[in-house]
């Protein structure tokens, strides 16, 4: 087996990519070629070490809270507005369906039926 093939086999072994049969073959190789194992271990140590990147800014957590906080605040404003609209609608509907009061009729002036006034009228009718 070539050295590059040995490296690949041992890398697969260390990376958990082999089935049981291939694992046994790899373990044989490890016993016979400790120098290749050392090379492979060195390669993995460098390649699998996360290279440094800039850390998150200190304000990131606060900005996440701010964004979600605003959203929650607006949600409550929306709920309150919806509730108020509901109450208003209910009031308007209730006012619309309330049974109407009997019509107000202007008082009719009743003829004066006192005896003094009735006399001449009576007399005129007789005539």
């Amino acid at each position: 087996m070539k050295r590059t093939e040995l490296r690949t086999l041992l890398l697969d072994y260390l990376d958990g990519l082999l089935d049981d049969d291939a694992k046994a073959a790899a373990e044989d190789c490890i016993a016979k070629h400790p120098d290749v194992l050392a090379e492979v271990a060195r390669f993995r140590a460098v390649l699998y070490r996360p290279y440094p990147v800039a850390p998150p800014s200190p304000g990131l957590e606060a900005s996440i809270r701010l964004r979600t906080g605003r959203r929650f605040a607006w949600r409550w404003v929306r709920y309150a507005a919806m509730f108020a609209a509901g109450v208003l609608t209910t009031l308007v509907v209730q006012a619309g369906v309330r049974p109407s009061a009997p019509p107000v009729v202007a008082p009719v002036e009743q003829p004066d039926t006192t005896v003094a006034d009735a006399g001449p009228t009576y007399n005129r009718r007789i005539r």
Binding site: R7, Y48, R49, P56, E61, R67
Partner: protein, 163 residues
């Protein structure tokens, strides 16, 4: 019971940000996408309450999808302004091992890079990486192997050098 946001951010904030920084190669984008990832977590916190064991995978899924969306939106401009494989001038001359590894990892095809970063740099199992990326475990293993072969070919000197 939903875990407190402080605890979740403390546990996953750094790793998710680091993953996004390595995946996008852009600190500003990593910051923006990390913020969006945790905003989405807060929006879905109640539904995620029963998924404590797989919360990490969920966060990596969201982060990966956001990075993919950003890449899709940015790619026409990127193609117009930058040649695809042109390395940055400082990277060409970089002799530092980390810089060389970084340059090679960043130049991997995106689907290979995602698996490689999750498995090798963020210590997810193949199963967890597969879940985070929405692929099968076998596919995850295959992609990881291909990524490592490319890197082993390009960084062959690492087999001999001490670190």
């Amino acid at each position: 019971m939903a875990e407190a946001f402080e605890q979740v951010y403390q546990r996953y904030g750094g790793p998710i940000h680091g993953y996004l920084a390595r995946l996008t190669g852009d600190a500003g984008a990593a910051e923006e996408l990390c913020q969006e990832t945790f905003v989405r977590y807060l929006r879905h916190r109640a539904a995620l309450a029963g998924r404590n064991g797989t919360l990490g995978a969920w966060l990596y899924t969201v982060a990966t999808n956001l990075a993919r969306d950003r890449r899709r939106r940015a790619s026409p401009e990127r193609l117009a302004t930058e040649p695809a494989d042109a390395p940055a001038p400082d990277a060409v001359e970089a002799k530092d091992t980390d810089a060389r590894v970084r340059r090679e990892v960043e130049s991997l095809p995106d689907d290979l890079k995602e698996v490689f970063l999750l498995r090798a740099h963020h210590d997810l199992t193949y199963a967890a990486a597969a879940e985070a990326l929405g692929i099968g475990e076998r596919t995850a293993k295959e992609r990881f192997r291909r990524a490592r072969e490319i890197l082993a070919h390009r960084l062959a000197h690492l087999f001999q050098e001490g670190s």
